[in-house]
Structure formats: C-alpha cells, structure tokens
C-alpha cells in the first residue's frame, strides 16, 4: 500500500480560552491516498477547519497540537522545523479559502499577488508575471491581463475564488485543501468553481481535503467522507455509502434535517436533532453525541464507543450503530394542517408594474423592471435568482424601505400601500414585516429579548407598555424560546434562538405578510430545520403569507407554494413550486436547478450559464438572458431573442414565463 498523502493520527488540538485548554479535536485519525479526495463534514464548531489548518500546522495563537501526528507523505509535520514547513507549504500543499475576496491582499494588484506564488518557486519577476497570466487562463479567466491589473475588491466572489485557486495550484501541489470554498457563492458560480477544481486536478494525482457543511457539494467532489461532531470523527466511509446508508445517529439525524427529494411543508415537518452541540472543550467521557442521541443508553455516557468497521472501509463510532437507521423521529411526521384552505382564499397582495430605479453617479440604474404578481393569504412565494437579480430590492420595496417608481402598484387587502415606510400607518407597517438573514445585526444588542419584542408590540400593535411585555412573553413562548431566556441579551443566545427572537419580533403586529430574506442561510442544517418547521407552523396557525428569499433551492422548495424566478430585476418564471421545479423550465430556471449538486440520486446533467450577471446599468438588448442563455442557440430564435424583450406569458394556467421559445419546444429540449 502506498504512503498516504496526508494522514492524521490521533490528533488532539486544544484552544486556550480564558486560561483553560479546551479540546477542539479529540484525537481524530484519517488518511488520504494519493489522488483521492476526502471530505470532512459537520456543523459549525465541530472542528472541520481546525483539522484543515492543523494539517498545515497553522493554528490560531491560542491553539496547540497536544498529541498525535500529522503525516504529510510520511513526514510528521508536528516535529519538522519552520523552514521545512514553509517549504512544504510553498511547493507541496495548496489551500483555497472561504471568503476569497478577504483572502487576497486589498492593496496589491491581482497580477502581483499571483506572480508572487511563482517568484517563490524561483522564477524571475518577469517570468513570474507571464506564468501568472498562464495560471489565470487555466482557471478560465477570460481576460487575464485585465484581471491582473485589478484589486481584489473589484472582483466578484467567483472571480476572486478562481484567482485563489490559481495561486493554490501554482506549485502543482500534491495536496489541495479547500475550506468551504463555495460557501457564500451563488449556486451557479459554485457549480462552476467545483467543475473547475475537478477539471484542474483530474489525472494530476493531487489529493484533496475538502471541508464543507454542504453534503451536496461533498457528494459531487469527494470519494470518501468523514463526519465530525464535537471534535471527534463519528463516521467515515465512501461518500455514497455515508449519504445513502448512514450508520451513526448523528449522520442519520443530519440527513433528515435537509429539505430535499421533494419534501414539502404540507407533507411533513422536517426532522431535527434535539438539543445543541456541547460547548467548546466540554468534558465528554462517553460518546460525544450522547446528549442529543435518541437511542443512547447508559453505556454511552460512560464508555467512548469504539470505531466499528462495518464493511468496505465504512466505520461508525457508535455502541448501537445497527440501530442508527431506525433512529426515532424527533418531530412527528403527521402532515401539517392548515386552518384555512389557502388555495381558495382571496388575494392578499397584488403587485403590478412595479419598477425601481436608482440614480447612481448621474446614471439611471433600473434594478426592478415591471414586476407583476400576486400572493394569496397563507401562501408562500419563493423568490430565487442569482445575487444581483433584485430579490432583496423587491423585498425592501414591499417593506417600504425603498420607494417604488411612479406608476407602480402595490396593494395589500385591496388597499394601496404607502410608498415609503413614512407614508404607512402603524397598522400597515405591522402588517408587512421582515425576518433578516443575520439576526446578530438585526437585534439591538443592549436590550433584553423581551424588551426587543415588547418594543415592537408597542410600536406595531399600539399596545401600552405593560400589556406589551405580556404579549412579548407570549410571542416568545409560541416561538419556543424558553422563559428562562426572556431576560437574556441577544449575544447570550445561539444563532437559532436569535432567529426565533427575530421572528417573534416580526409577528408583534399580527402581520399579514412576512418577508423572509435568507432567514436560515447563516444557520446549521439542524437549526435550519427547526426554523423552517416553526415558520410552517406559524403559517398554518396564523394564515400569514410569506415572501421567502433563499439561494438554497431545497429550502425554497420545501416551504413555497409558488415560486418566482428573478433575473436582472425581472420575473423570468412564476408558477406553482412543483411546476417550476419539475419543468418544462425557463432556460434560466433550468440552469439554476441543474447547478445544485444533488445529495441523493444520480447527478443531473449541468446546464451552464456562460459569463457573469451583467450590470443592471447596461442590460443586454432583447431578452436580458440572451448573452448567457443555454437554449437560445439551439432554438433557432436567436434573432428574436437578441432584438426583442419577451413578455411574461402564461404558458399553462398559473404558470408564467418570460421567454420567446415556445413551451413545447422547451419541453422537448429539456427531455
């Protein structure tokens, strides 16, 4: 057997926090063979990134490797000299980071930064610049000379990640470590970056250590996968096996949290994992997962389970792994009962010919163009599209944060809504509310949880101070925020609890419509499942309508009744969730849907969008999608598509598309 490229042997890492050494990695072991790609998954705080950085012996100032080994091609990285470590980083290991724009030096031009990777390998500065240009071409940057003259803040996230990849591959490394490389990127960009990495290292013999919380991404990239929980590797095996037949209660629970495979709020709640991960550095004498495990028994508290070899290199660290598959559900699977039938209830919100123009540097930029749609009571409208498509602008316009252009019509319950928030009555403001992506910045840090919600009750429901406190407690209780926590400040709460408080706040004025702008994208999947269940329950009980924005199509599909697909400020497709997902799709929707890596089932054929989203300041003539449209060339309508902007037409009852290609032709093309 050949020497593994990277092997971790019983690696223990601690962080010193307030003078106490706390375990972050509790003795983890795995090995990556030459040419193999290995994924590490788990929720935040489980030690994924620490494992990645420890592999390069790069730990924060308060971190230290306590015991164990990191073997790179058989050499123990924990005991070699600093010079040797530098040499390995320079010539043998490449790294790609989350948040690529921050990973590049803001004051140095891209060309110089990429060239630096080559001068380090001993090339002259002129030669290094030429090699940098070559490297940027390899990562499919169309105009490398231009990009080289730019600074990081002038690049899109996807472009910056290509630059980082070019630097990481400069030395043709034998190991490439990717730490959440596509988190924060659009699904379409994510798919392209992953394609690129796959293509570049194919046949090169480079091994990969891939860190991600996204199981779909892991599935599309990795041969084998290790599941981390609280600093311990709880399950390991071939990716297919782990995702199809998980054998550890944590992995089983994790898979059930993820909205996928046609799951829908009307069919069942999502299952969740009860409780929260143990705090950093807790004493865990038995199994690390015992506090959240539904099949735990006494032995699990006292004795750490052994790593059980199931078959073909599938390992599970569980005393009762054979029972894991039958893990009882935490949340009942009974279908959700909506109090009032939403399909026949009357319309709540109508939007007609809504446009929004910003003026920027003496230039008119139209970010929303002629948006027309409606929303019924108790209905969820999912809003999807790449960043820059106008989703958030639409949401903010509904809320009155932005005032729409003249001629736009927005009515709630048949009455025209005030344009700006100042033109709206307290009742109207309370009727249309929002839940933000980041509850950290949306909640006042200085106020207690009760106070935050009570203030909203005072303002939006017009209740006197004393009553508002009671109502706030009531709201928080109905969001399952433990009364013990009602006097806590936001900083003392976990991300999921903070989001519950934010939801309680938005329900203070008995809203008719709540705009949810990426409410779960900063949360771990088990927490996300809880929040999605909560939103579904609230909707069933209060008959509230949602406009739900998310880049995660699985989440949108789970919660939405209808979906609007936006591109460059226009609605490209609008219809029932099933129809939009099952097709025939608008070519843009088709590309979006196909870019999401599937967790289960066979991988879909990728439909690519070329290039980047154009600037709304200079939209393409004709159909705005035409420069990137995956179906235009074969449709024989190219002339029409490039000259005339299509209308949003009804292709079947309740299903609208903005496309010149007839729906039957699309159906045939999409087979």
């Amino acid at each position: 057997m050949s020497t593994p490229t990277l092997e971790l042997r019983d690696l223990r890492v601690t962080y010193t926090v307030r003078g106490i050494d706390r375990d972050v990695l509790r003795g983890i072991s795995f090995a990556i063979k030459p040419g193999e790609s290995y994924g590490l998954v788990g929720e935040s705080g489980c030690g994924k990134s620490t494992a990645a950085y420890a592999s390069m012996r790069y730990l924060p100032r308060n971190g230290q490797i306590v015991s164990g080994q990191v073997l790179f091609e058989g050499r123990d990285m924990t005991s070699v000299s600093d010079a040797e470590i530098r040499e390995m980083r320079r010539s043998a290991i490449g790294m790609v980071y989350q948040n690529p724009i921050a990973a590049l030096n803001p004051t140095i031009r891209i060309g110089e930064q990429v060239a630096e990777s080559f001068t380090m390998l001993g090339h002259g500065s002129k030669e290094a610049l030429e090699l940098a240009e070559e490297a940027l071409k390899r990562v499919q940057i169309a105009d490398p000379k231009r990009v080289m003259r730019r600074y990081p803040h002038q690049l899109s996230g996807g472009m910056a990640q290509r630059v980082v990849i070019a630097m990481a591959l400069a030395s043709n490394p034998r190991l490439l470590i990717l730490d959440e490389p596509t988190t924060g990127l659009d699904a379409t960009v994510e798919a392209e970056v992953l394609d690129l990495v796959r293509g570049l290292i194919k046949d090169s013999g480079t091994s990969i250590l891939f860190i991600s919380h996204n199981l779909g991404v892991i599935r599309s990239m990795c041969d084998r996968v290790g599941v981390l929980y609280a600093g311990a590797l709880v399950e390991e095996g071939e990716t297919e096996t782990i995702l199809q037949n998980p054998n550890h209660p944590y992995t089983v629970g994790l898979m059930r949290c993820i909205p996928r495979g046609g799951l829908h709020k009307r069919l069942a709640h999502l299952d969740t994992i009860p409780g929260t991960p143990p705090p950093l550095g807790s004493e865990l004498p038995g199994c690390v997962f015992v506090d959240r495990c539904a099949i735990a028994q006494d032995v699990c508290r006292t004795t750490p389970p052994p790593l059980v070899d199931l078959r073909n290199g599938h390992f599970s660290r569980c005393h009762f792994n054979e029972q894991a598959v039958n893990l009882p559900r935490t949340v009942g699977s009974a279908p959700l009962q909506q109090k009032t039938d939403s399909s026949h209830s009357k319309e709540l919100l109508t939007i007609a010919h809504l446009s929004k123009t910003f003026s920027q540097d003496d230039q008119e930029v139209r970010v929303l163009t002629d948006v027309t749609m409606s929303l019924a009571r108790g209905e969820t409208l999912g809003l999807v599209g790449e960043s820059g498509s106008g989703k958030t602008t639409l949401a903010k316009t509904l809320l009155g944060i932005f005032e729409p252009d003249e001629g736009s019509i927005v009515t709630l319950e048949g009455r025209q809504l005030g344009k700006g928030i100042a033109d709206r009555t307290a009742h109207e403001v309370g009727s249309v509310q929002i839940v933000f992506q980041n509850p950290d910045s949306a909640l006042n840090r200085r106020h207690s949880v009760t106070r935050i919600v009570a203030r909203a009750v005072e303002k939006l429901a017009g209740k006197p101070k004393r009553e508002s406190e009671d109502r706030a407690q009531e709201l928080l209780n109905s969001m399952s925020v433990d009364p013990v926590l009602h006097s806590a400040r936001p900083a003392q709460l976990s991300g999921g609890l903070k989001q519950r408080v934010a939801i309680a706040r938005s329900f203070a004025g008995s809203p008719k419509l709540v705009v949810c702008d990426e409410p779960t994208s900063a949360l771990d999947v088990s927490v996300q499942a809880n929040i999605l269940n909560l939103l579904a329950d609230l909707q069933a009980n209060e008959n509230v309508s949602y406009v739900f924005i998310s880049h995660d199509l699985g989440v949108v599909r789970y919660l939405s009744d209808r979906i609007a697909v936006m591109y460059l400020g226009r609605i490209m497709e609008l219809g029932a969730a099933e129809e939009v997902f099952n097709g025939p799709h608008h070519p843009y929707t088709e590309a979006l849907v196909s870019s999401v890596p599937a967790i289960d089932g066979s991988p879909r054929a990728r439909i690519r969008l070329g290039g980047e989203v154009p600037s709304p300041a200079s939209p393409p003539t004709g159909c705005v999608l035409n420069p990137r449209c995956p179906r235009m060339a074969a449709s024989g309508l190219a002339h029409k598509c490039t000259s005339e902007e299509p209308e949003l037409r009804e292709v079947s009852p309740g299903h609208f598309m903005r496309c010149h290609i007839p729906v039957e032709q699309l159906r045939t093309m999409q087979g």
Partner: protein
C-alpha cells in the same frame, strides 16, 4: 482625483472660515477690554473712550467683523493693539521659530512611533511589546509641560547634557538651533509617541489576523516577507489619519513647551495676546492654527486615498 481634491479643499476653506468667525465673536465676549488693559485700571474714562475709538472698538460688533473679514481676505491682518505694529511683522518670525521646533519634534516622533508600533505589533505579547506599549502610554499621560520641567531639571540643570534654553539668540548657525531644540522636542515626542505607536501596533496586529496574511503565510512566504509585503502597507493606513489628527495636540504642546523653555515662538505670542486682549494678534493666530490643522488633515486624506486602492477608485469612479 482632482475633483476629490477640489472638494476637500472647498470643505477645508469652509472649516477655516467657520473657525475664524467663531473666534472673532468669542474673543469679543471675553471679559476685559484692550483699552483698559493698555492704559491700566486707573486711567481716565475719557482717555479709555478715546483709545477705544482709535482702535475702532466702539463700532458695532458686526461692522467690526466685516472690516476684519474684508481686510483679512485682502491679506491685511491688521495691527497689534499692544505693540502697534502690523500683526504680520510681529507673528511671522515667531511662526518661523515654532515651525523649526514642530518640524524637529515631528521628524523625531513619526519614525520613532511608527517603528516602535510596528516592533510592538510584530513582537505581540513579548517583553519588547510590553515595554513599548506600557512605556508609550505612561509617557503620554504625563502632560508635556511636566515633561518639559522634568527634562529641564534633570537633563539640563542636573546632568548639564543639553542647554535649558531653547533659543540661542539670533544669528546662530542651523546646528546650534537644532542643538538647543533637542530637549523641547523630546518633551513633545514623549507625549505623541504613545498614541501614534499604539495605532501602528493595532494596525499591524489587525493585518496579522487578516485572511490575506494567512494566505501569504500558507503560500510559504517567510515571515520577514509576509511582514514587509503584506502587513506593513495595510497596517500603516490607519496611522496616517492618526498622525494628522495629532497636529492639533502638537500645536497645543508647543504653547506649553515654549513657555517652559522660554522660546519666543508662536505659542508665547499666543499667550501674550490672550493676556493683553490683543484681538488682531489672537484672531490671526487662530486663523493660522486653523489653516495648519486643516491642511494637515487634507494632506492625510489625499495620502490615504493614494495608498488605499479602494478609496482611490471609489473617488475616481
């Protein structure tokens, strides 16, 4: 970029105008009256009234303001009430002297505190860092006039290493001037060092904790190169703004230090002008101080924009 500079310049002029206007009215509500001050408390009322009339102090305040403003705009700063000479002739030589002191203090402070701050940041948590941080902060909390007195007593009187008087008299060579100015400069450096070095240190530490320095380190660059190429430029940006913001403190320090070292500079004139209610001198002095401070801020803003591509391109767009 030109447009940006023009805009900043316009704002700077406005600031100077507002400050000088404010000071014009503020000096006029100060208790005491120049005529009484000149003639003494026992002077005959009619003599005081006559002097007031000669000096134009009997006219309505707004009329006085108008005269002052139009004269100032034409470059005429008026005559010193106390010395009966044009203000320009009176304060220009003093400004020259103060500039020398300020320049030496600045030339010592900036490199010393930047180097000190960088060293502390790079050696974060080590004894060197502690000495620089604690030492700098301790020095800064002692007011400059206390330092000045201590330096005169210890270095000048007791040890006799350096002269205790900052002014060697006219007609001396440049080196003699510099020699005499070392001690007062040190008093100013001691006060400014702590703050500027602290910001430089914070900048270095922030850069070290950044993602791009992690990238540079994991590329395999040696630490020295990481510091020189990736840390310093980003770390020093905040220091530039802080250095400019220290200019007012420097001027304030000048006033106190000049007094202790018996240096006939601008600060000394300013104190006398307040004592004698010498309005034209006081107003002109404030005008000059305002111009200097605003100019320093303007230079810092432009330098900041030149060094920071984000701001620079934000401006150019």
């Amino acid at each position: 970029m030109l447009k940006y500079v023009a805009k900043r310049l316009g704002l700077a002029l406005l600031t100077v105008f507002v400050v000088t206007t404010a000071i014009f009215f503020m000096t006029n509500i100060l208790p005491g009256d120049p005529a009484t001050r000149i003639l003494g408390n026992l002077a005959e009322p009619e003599n005081v009234a006559k002097l007031r009339k000669d000096l134009g102090l009997d006219r309505p305040l707004l009329a006085q303001y108008w005269t002052w403003l139009s004269n100032t705009l034409q470059g005429d700063l008026g005559n010193s009430i106390q010395h009966r000479v044009p203000v320009v002739d009176y304060i220009l030589p003093a400004i020259g002297l103060s500039l020398r002191l300020a320049a030496i203090a600045f030339l010592l402070t900036v490199p010393l505190s930047i180097i000190g701050g960088i060293t502390a940041g790079v050696m974060r948590g080590k004894p060197v860092d502690r000495v620089i941080t604690v030492g700098g902060l301790s020095a800064a909390v002692v007011p400059e006039f206390v330092w000045a007195v201590l330096l005169v007593l210890i270095v000048g009187v007791r040890l006799k290493w350096l002269p205790t008087s900052a002014y060697p008299g006219p007609d001396e060579g440049l080196l003699t001037y510099v020699y005499h100015l070392i001690l007062p400069s040190i008093a100013l450096v001691l006060v400014l060092f702590g703050y500027i070095s602290r910001i430089a240190r914070a900048g270095v530490i922030e850069a070290f904790d950044s993602d791009y320095v992690r990238t540079a380190t994991l590329k395999g660059l040696p630490r020295r190169k990481v510091v020189n190429k990736h840390v310093l430029r980003n770390a020093l940006l905040p220091s530039i703004a802080v250095i400019a913001s220290q200019v007012p403190y420097l001027i304030g320090g000048l006033v106190a230090v000049e007094r202790v070292f018996n240096y006939p500079g601008f600060g000394t004139i300013l104190i006398k002008a307040v004592q004698y209610r010498d309005y034209p001198v006081l107003q002109s002095s404030v005008l000059i101080v305002a111009v200097v401070i605003v100019l320093a801020q303007l230079i810092a803003d432009i330098l900041f924009a030149v060094l920071n591509p984000r701001i620079r391109q934000g401006i150019e767009r």
